[in-house]
Amino acid sequence: MNDELDLRIERTLDAPRDLVWKAWTDPEHIKRWWSPRPYETPECEIELKPGGKFFTRMTGPEGFDYSGTACILEAVPGERIVWSSTMKGGYRPNEFTDDGCNGFPFTAIHSFQDAGGGKTRYTATVMHANAKDRDAHAAMGFDDGWGTCADQLAEVARTLAAEA
């Protein structure tokens, strides 16, 4: 974990690890939680092996239809799945437009550990390519240093927007 570039979200889930793993890696399950309502995930493919394709298609109101393909870098059953938006299946690089309309580069590490009592500790770590992307996330309060500063700015912005 590089504090300069990464963020982390941790949750203790009240379910055994094998079930949590299944929910994260089975396309039929992913389709049910990937997209926020009213958006849906009508298609999902995931190949649980290094170089495997991780494809999702999201559809929604007003003809919204967005497909994204990432690359699985690591898949250790029940323990860890690592994927990156920088590539598609077979390690072929993705293209990114400057306007950010087709996403931005990041790598996500999802790890699962027994937490006792039939619970699972789930940790998502997201690694960014540059300071802009990292700051964008850190400013949301994931980081104690710069994040705190940006939080204050965000608070200021809210106040100013409310006054305007």
Binding site: R11, D14, L19, W33, P36, K132, D135, A139, A154, E163
Partner: protein
């Protein structure tokens, strides 16, 4: 996903420097003259003016000269724009994991 990326690029570049973040923090409590901004900083006035120039170029602050005093203030819209984008990103990650958690609960209950 993001229509005003060049603006945000400039804003984040401007915010990458601790001196400029300090200046912005000071300005968030209200407009200040250049000399008021410079006073607590351990750097020369020309250096302060350089940082100010970068902040103005980012659109995060604006300044106006009246007589011999240049007054600097934050631009709420530029800050709000950054905040909106950040909020969206956070929402996406947190809410996706919320949905994942709810789904895990649902299938656990189906199984028992």
């Amino acid at each position: 996903m993001l229509n005003d990326s060049p603006t945000l690029d400039r804003a984040f570049a401007a915010l990458a420097d601790p001196v400029r973040r300090g200046m912005l923090a000071r300005l968030s409590s209200g407009p200040a003259s250049v000399s008021e901004l410079a006073r607590p900083l351990p750097i020369s006035l020309p250096a302060v003016l350089q940082h100010l120039k970068a902040l103005e170029a980012s659109g995060l602050v604006s300044s106006e000269k009246k007589g011999r005093v240049r007054t600097v203030r934050v631009e709420p819209e530029a800050l709000a724009s950054a905040e909106t984008w950040l909020s969206r990103r956070r929402e996406e990650w947190e809410s996706r994991i919320d949905r994942f958690e709810a789904h895990v609960q649902a299938i656990k209950e189906e199984q028992t």
